[in-house]
Symmetry: C2
Subunit: 260 residues, 2 copies
């Protein structure tokens, strides 16, 4: 545990922390990372703007700069300040790395996207269950029959995450997460998984299945896996992301995102 | 008055409507238009993402395409569907035009940005005063001492609009406008104009002064003039915008933006 985002980033940069980042600097917003060559960056940016629920953009660097805006993280370096990275070529995972110092190029653009850690913390604070956290597993995620809005080469299905919520608390779950549009916002679908093209909640496309108790409704949120899944489906020649669960920790408090 | 956004756009395209668009298709969201050459578009896009309150992006076209995403407006053409346009060269206004058919180029990118018409309608629906509408004049706007976050060549001061609100209704004005982050959202400053560097509310930098009654507080919202003011200050070689008050009318209802 660290006091704040800056201390966590320093520990990661110096190799003192190499594991997943969940709970590492409680209250500080964590972000997904996507890095693309400049010639694809504009289309990806347009894709995110057309699909703000799965792809909530927090910041975009200028080409060649690994530094996010100071309002998100002061003196940060996206080449060193995450514990683990993944390199994809032509839509295939080719390497996992602990830093990007050797890989960085003058034509790379880094995108920070909102992460559901922020709204899960808000749900827990309000006493709502977050089943996969209680189970100690990954959230279940599903490819749906809903298409994203395309931009350039980026197109594909919306991916959703699912959290079972007691029927009497579903409206509260909507109200709480709607306060955080920068981290996926309100659910995109409540109940009726078949209508999303999900045949079996017990067999997620990503992550782990979780039990749904009697009286609970499956609630579906737009998922941050969508932009990665879409970029991979588009067989992007060169892309770097954070490794799952190994996020970028910012200087902003989760509560700031509720008044973003 | 037209029934919906599509009918209003058709009337404008066919030259049957050439005036300002306020109230033209009640309930349908109107948008600001900015058009820039592709080589500046990425930096402008990053500028908007770093400054979401003054620059709430609704859509961005692909280079050369004058067509916004169908989810915003079906079968729309940004070259013909606004009543009046302005052409700027090197930061100077050089022409006002009724369409862009002769000017359109394959390297142009169009940006649609949220417009305060949407939240003013919500304020009025809740019974709050919107003074400049009652006075039949333009909203007063002020350059402030707050800087926007820079991106590439785009930098400069935040511009705010001001609406006087009775002290007992200021909190309500915050709550109502906070529901609409896609059209500037909650105020950026309440009371104390000196702290924003505004010496005299009676002398706005843009628009018209409005009376502030006893018991009212000046409430300041981030203003859509900011991106235009910043682009002009950066002496952008080539830029097209809508003419003031002559907006693009979409197919989306204002109420949709409250759950964007």
């Amino acid at each position: 545990m660290f006091e704040n985002g800056r201390e966590a980033r320093e520990a990661i940069r110096e190799g003192r922390w190499t594991g997943p980042t969940a709970g590492l600097a409680p209250g500080y917003t964590q972000a997904n990372l996507v890095i693309l060559p400049e010639k694809l960056a504009f289309d990806f940016l347009r894709f995110c703007i057309r699909n703000p629920k799965p792809c909530p953009l927090l910041d975009v660097t200028s080409p060649g700069s690994p530094h996010p805006d100071r309002s998100w993280a002061a003196d940060a370096d996206l080449r060193t300040d995450l514990p683990r990275y993944r390199l994809y070529r032509d839509g295939q995972l080719v390497a996992e790395l602990s830093n990007l110092l050797d890989l960085w190029r003058e034509d790379l653009v880094a995108f920070l996207l909102g992460c559901s850690f922020t709204f899960e913390r808000a749900l827990q604070s309000a006493g709502l269950p977050v089943r996969h956290l209680a189970c100690g597993c990954n959230v279940p995620m599903y490819r749906t029959n809903r298409l994203t809005r395309a931009a350039g080469p980026f197109h594909g299905p919306l991916v959703v995450s699912m959290r079972p919520i007691p029927a009497a608390q579903v409206a509260q779950a909507v109200q709480i997460t709607a306060r955080y549009p920068a981290v996926h916002g309100a659910p995109v679908h409540i109940g009726e998984p078949e209508a999303l093209g999900i045949a079996d909640l017990g067999r997620p496309d990503y992550g782990d299945p979780v039990p749904i108790e009697p009286g609970e409704v499956p609630v579906f949120w737009a998922c941050g896996v969508t932009p990665q899944a879409v970029a991979l489906a588009a067989r992007i020649p060169y892309m770097i992301t954070h490794a799952p669960g190994h996020m970028f920790i910012t200087d902003r408090l989760d509560e700031h995102l509720a008044a973003f």
